[in-house]
Amino acid sequence: MSSFADQLLVLVLLINILILGTHRARVAIRAIALQGVVLGMMPLLIHPVQGHILLITLFVVLAKGVCIPWLLFGALSKIEFSEDLPPFLGYAGNVIAGAVATVMAFAFAARLPLAPHHQELLTVPAALATILAGFIALASRRKAINQVIGYLMLENGIFIFGLLLTEAMPLMVEAGALLDLIAGIFVMGIIINQIGREFSSIDTSRMTALREEE
């Protein structure tokens, strides 16, 4: 793999931290779109150009860079009010948790019995770090929209893992995964609106209460 791809993976890791630390949903959506586009371009950089890799790139960039952000912005604009709900760990705690997860991912990846030509790459630690950051965002954010973004980050991490196998991965599998993702985001967009309408708050931690007002 070229070192340029490794440097793009560093950018992906930084975007993880940005998403964990930002308190604006719009910034997080733009960042996850950028992450998706950067990752979408990666197969072109690491594998020789072929027809099916070009198609995968096109689909991924379209889905993650255009379609999903559009759905998320649509869901965001339908929520009339936007309260500032700090995550359970706090913003600084989130960033620190993300940084610790990244360090652990690097330490863990160094011990994995990988194929020798994968040993030196950033791909495996970056994938693990992105998956862990996605988990942290899913678990600690209180707004449904931020949880969706955490879910997307998780999927991006799995996609980075898939980069090692792009040559073996048939086009249909990748296309099916993307379709599932878009359907999932679509459903979540509807759910976010429903939460906003029914509970007069978008704090998902309140949904465990039996009554509306406490």
Binding site: S3, D6, Q7, V10, L13, L14, I17, G21, Y91, A92, V95, I96, G98, A99, T102, V103, F106, A110, L122, P125
Partner: protein, 302 residues
Amino acid sequence: MIDLLIHLVLIILIPPLLPGVINRTKAAFAGRTGAPLLQPYYDLYRLLRKGTVFSRTTTWVFRAGPIVTLAATLAAALFIPLGNHAPPLSFNGDMILFVYLLALGRFFTTVAALDTGSSFEGMGAAREVTFSCLAEPVVLITLLVLSRLSGSLSLAGILTHSSTTLWLASGASLILLVAGLFMVLLAENCRIPFDDPTTHLELTMIHEVLVLDHSGPAFGMITYGAALKLSILSALFLHVALPLRNADPYLDWLVFVISMILLAVAIGVVESCMARLRMTRVPQMLLAACVMAAFAMILVVR
């Protein structure tokens, strides 16, 4: 010998020029003519001619504050190589001394502020120390990473090692270091978005509120010390960010001075384009700088 003389002359004469350039850039952005480029020099001259007022509640600590701060910053300036020339002083491990000299200067500024007993100055001291807790690790981690890359333990070896080949080899970690260092450069020198040097409200000040009670030559020393710190950290930043060097030593000096002025213009542009951060967001930004420096370290060490 000539290089030593040029180093001393530059490090003494250049600092007040940088705030002048920054202010001029900000004025140009706002559509004003702005103060003359050499205004900081005139200000220093004016302050040095004035008398000083010392409050009766203060002790010797208050008087020692500006002197020790300026002396420590000047001593730190002797360890930084300027424009690819060896610094006057250098030994293995001097990077730790460099960081601690800057910390000593900060310590005496804050102690002098606490000595006045003013509540505003105590608040400023608390903020200053809190934020520098987060800014110092960035500088230390940066120096560690660079020392690992260059295999040297002295500032001279660390900072003159960075080159275009190194940038091609480990560009990602260097970009992270440069971004972290730029944030620290802005935070440590009280520039927007971390602190507004022109604010008029004590409640929102960080660095300015520490020196409210100083006057005359003592205040001149503080202003000069702040400008000196700006130029030291700028030189540190430029060594990492712009590894330009040729065989001709005199051309190197010229390139160094021009790049310092360009960096001051860049700081002015950043200041004109950004609003000040809310006080609670400042530690988060500095934490982000720490995380970036730590990432760079992971990338280099693994």
